[in-house]
Symmetry: C3
Subunit: 468 residues, 3 copies
């Protein structure tokens, strides 16, 4: 039995409309200029925040959609996570490397109570498909990624809670941040729970505290019977602490009975985990020029050894240890050249099978040359080296080698002039090359030896990208 | 071949924008104060109804999302319909008892024709999942629950139809009403059809008439062959009549060939049904204090023996008879204590199998103590007794016993002060206990004996709930 | 790894709100009437385009939802494509002939850059189901049909590109046009790609150029092994040229390796195709009276032999040839009678199997008699003749015969008075009759002999239809 009823639909809008209706009638009558001005000002003050998206409904989006083709004019495999290292988070550059239509439609509704307390409901519906067809009921993936409520400016909160906001529901954590050019977050914390943001101990010391749950669904739990499965929950307690530009995050997690999970034939999966991140949010380009940079070191153990998607991987071994480094910066090299270099690297061992090893490092740089108000040339180079010994986890073989990729993308945009200006419409050509050995990692993957996609490849296509 | 074309997209918006553009240019020129005021007033009169949601797009929502955990920190089964009686509509209290993310995103578009006739298009997209993950393409359930058009203030309607509105499409009936705390409607009428509301015979006598269709899909129709199935439609004629505070509803339905449905090995399913409800909508707390109450008795036979979800159950026996009673009230006990008691009870026999019996009764009470502008304590107690003899319908066994549940929920909200104020962010702890016998009803259900969920349980968690 | 981040969510709305906030505070202070008027005019100029849908969010829709019943009060099969000719695009009239709920929810977001360049993001979510139930998670088909960005008024474009717009993503082509009453486009071009519209060579000569990709998924590619499948892409280069009222469209397409597709046991499917259309967009009713008309001849070969849905059918034979004619007009016959006749006809051979033949022709006419501001009677007659020799393609048998259909539909609408005014709420009764031979075409189709749906049928029901 699933349903819900709103006994009093949209009382705010109703109230506003009644208020407006009554003043509107009055406005037709004989009135002084002063009265008419005051009435207009009052009405506009009601209408403005709704037009600006500060009250009522507003719409946000991230979307990309493009064709990625090989020399035979057929879809090429792609995506920042197409290399063996990608299977454990080692992204390469995304420019000219995305074969999908992925989009997030975000519907917001904001209210302000009479006492000043604000509430924000956010619903995110997302879809992902690699089909080029306009009817994708069979191969699309429409689903709800976020549905939560957050309160801020809470009238009765005082002291260290004065500026705090609280939330509950399903969400991406507010303070996740990413290396855009690799399509990789430093931290991606998401799930279902509740918490508090911006507990303010001093002017420069604030903290967030949250509980997130995630579902580990239908994992094998009997070494003899392949179709005997269990499910459990991974609960993550997180504290995010800010000291000026420095961020220190702490995560502790527990997934009761996850040690009954069968990975590689044995039951040694982690039941608990810890994870921490130390980050610096720089407001210049490494102190060298105008711009920004972000630098972070993540370290995790057990269930915390998935360094980015916190608590999302239930196959991790009880002895798993990972350390990851991420850094990027953005700056203008001259009036018309923009530059954004990035590094992402990780070392991980005993990750899924006792004794396995994962090491990879990605250099990436996006360069843009601005030509007109609406046109720029974008360039991106990626180099990734990896040395992975998976000990047959998920049927994967050991590989040691390099992957390189270079893309040129003539790009149109409404207003050239910043790293984050979108939308963009681009065409692109990429050349990628890699050591043959990487093709032996996993049969079905993008570099897998049995595909037509071999160690040197030209790909090209067209894509749009937008967010607002 | 599926597609549709709008030859003239959004002419209303276009017209408005042209009108505004022309006056806007004029406004830049030399004008008298009078002219400028008049122009501003005219423009605002165009903009206001759109900002208030009276014309154009508006957004409504019901949503809840929460974690429901047991003492092992794992997801607990839950929901108001978790007991054996729940399988036939016997809900218990929902506070601290909901394991899901359920949401309705309602997109409205309202237009007013030059002749004053109003039209309202409503689209409802809904989702339901118990997964805590942020990507639920595999276990979500996004679907369209409503898509209909309703006309009101119809220019050429006169006499008893002067205030009538007409509709067609897929919808929840406008006049469904519920016991919020049990997540149970008194009546839930929904499906695809058309009808007329508010035919006004006298000032205090009005009627609604509608035809609703529902689909009975892929039911077994051969006692020998389990995979021989048929489909049919259940057509429901409904009349809803109001005499002041009294409501009398009449439903008659027919599902051609549903008597070929195999239930419990025999073909005795109902092909027709009748259903009626007598209700009183009180504008005080049972005449005792300020508040409200609603009281209704529902009775149905054959296909009408599903007392709430009218015409939605095709397994009902041709001799099925059900009688249900629902009542709730809301009031303030003191300045800061709110109180909302409810009763829901049903007796039903020959429901699915000739000779079966279903009897259950739920007492429920929600109590709230308001502390600050943003905080209150909520309490809810439920007691349900049931005596069910299903005669092996759907593999279910006879049970006779009681279920009790008590919840404490510290609750934050933007503005404390009413039964219907939302959103809420709550944490909660519940204790529930039940007779062991109830665990034998059905193997896979929440109380089923083979789960860890045994006859006395603490559960806790966090949840948001919102509607607007 | 799927996610995206908007580093700077909705800066436009933020900017607007800040601008408004600062002027709003000022407005409270002592100001001259002139200053207050100027402030109001400035604010309204910000708010207006958002209320009118010229900037920010706006909502468009096409939707229909209805019950289509036979004399037994059960769902009848239907739809404009229900005849044997319908399987290759031969539509009959849609009035009183649609059994589904089909809807398109279109979410737009428009921005104007400081330099004047406009961008338009469009997301279309669509659903289709024949279930009358209000919960269709199992039988609905929610999916994303469009997600693209289009730029117009591009500041730095000059010369023949001055008025051009460019786009990328997944979309329905902007210049598709249809015969509404048959639910058939003349041309339906859609897929994933990019292009440019409105390259203007002279005042009356303009052209569009686009590249569209479509996915051919999982087709059989081994004559021996039925479950050996391949996938490929069909890439379509399109040029659309306008010379006053005349449109000349050219399409060339290639699907690498589609010649490995097994159709009817052999590998002779087309790998390439060409398609062209010559159309005239008339601004009177064939020069006879006020109204409009459209006339087009389409011709295609190989993969281009699907005359309407360009490049969407991968089963086409390498020698396939099709020629299609479409024409419709609209006019008022008198003050209250509207008339819209249409013809759609096609001849096609070697379509799927060397030697097959498809010939069909549909006459259709919609007539409406306007009675009041809110009510009109609509009538529609269709006659279709077909002669199809499919040579066992898809198990289909040769048929030669006629189908006729007549519908009466009393129709309510907010404002009677045009062919395109919507929404409409209608009830209807249809009589259709056809040659028995048509029932032998394909076992599972609407006219298939084993159903209750035989050669003369009354159907009736109710439906809403809306677009905006």
């Amino acid at each position: 039995m699933i349903f819900g009823k709103a006994p009093n639909p949209n009382p705010l809008a109703l109230g506003l409309s009644l208020a407006l209706a009554s003043t509107s009638v009055a406005a037709q009558e004989q009135q002084s200029v002063e009265e008419r001005l005051a009435a207009l000002e009052e009405k506009l003050a009601e209408v403005e925040p709704r037009a600006a998206g500060d009250e009522g409904f507003s719409f946000n989006t991230y979307a990309r959609s493009g064709l990625l083709l090989n020399g035979d004019l057929q879809s090429a495999p792609g995506g920042p996570y197409l290399t063996p290292a990608g299977s454990v988070g080692g992204a390469v550059g995304r420019l000219g490397n995305e074969p999908d239509t992925y989009l997030e439609a975000i519907l917001n509704y904001k209210q302000v109570a009479e006492n000043g307390t604000k509430s924000h409901y956010r619903l995110m519906i997302a879809d992902s498909t690699t089909s080029s067809n306009d009817w994708t009921a069979g191969d699309g993936a429409l689903n709800v990624r976020q549905a939560y409520v957050e309160f801020s400016d809470i009238a009765s909160f005082t002291g260290i809670f004065r500026d705090a906001s609280i939330w509950a529901g399903k969400r991406f954590d507010r303070d996740n941040f990413d290396i855009h050019w690799l399509d990789s977050d430093f931290i991606f914390l998401a799930g279902l729970g509740g918490g508090i943001y911006d507990v303010k101990f001093t002017d420069s010391v604030t903290s967030n505290f949250s509980l997130y749950g995630r579902s580990f669904l239908d994992f094998p739990s009997d070494p003899q019977l392949a179709d005997e499965t269990s499910s459990t929950d991974n609960l993550i307690l997180t504290a995010n602490n800010y000291f000026g530009n420095v961020q220190w995050m702490l995560n502790a997690m527990k997934a009761q009975d996850n040690d009954q999970r069968v990975v590689g034939g044995v039951q040694e999966a982690a039941e608990t985990g810890v994870h921490t991140m130390l980050a610096y949010h720089g407001d210049s380009f490494f102190g060298l020029s105008e711009g920004n940079f972000k630098l972070a070191v993540m370290h995790g153990q057990g269930l915390g050894a998935e360094a980015k998607s916190i608590g999302a991987d239930g196959d991790l071994h009880e002895d798993a240890v990972s350390t990851r480094l991420g850094v990027y910066g953005t700056t203008y090299l001259s009036e018309s050249w923009r530059f954004a270099p990035a590094i992402l690297a990780e070392t991980s061992e005993d990750r899924y099978i006792k004794g396995d090893e994962y090491q990879w490092l990605t250099f990436n740089a996006r360069l843009a040359q601005e030509f007109t108000q609406n046109f720029e040339m974008q360039y991106e180079a990626s180099w990734q080296t990896m040395d992975i010994t998976p000990l047959d986890y998920a049927g994967r073989n050991a590989v040691d080698g390099d992957y390189s990729r270079f893309t040129v993308a003539p790009t149109f945009k409404p207003q050239v002039g910043d790293f984050w200006n979108r939308p963009e419409i681009r065409v692109f050509a990429s050349y990628s090359t890699w050591d043959d050995e990487l093709e032996g990692y996993a049969g079905g993957d993008a570099l897998g030896a049995d595909s037509d996609f071999e160690s040197g490849q030209w790909t090209f296509g067209t894509q749009m990208e937008i967010w607002f």
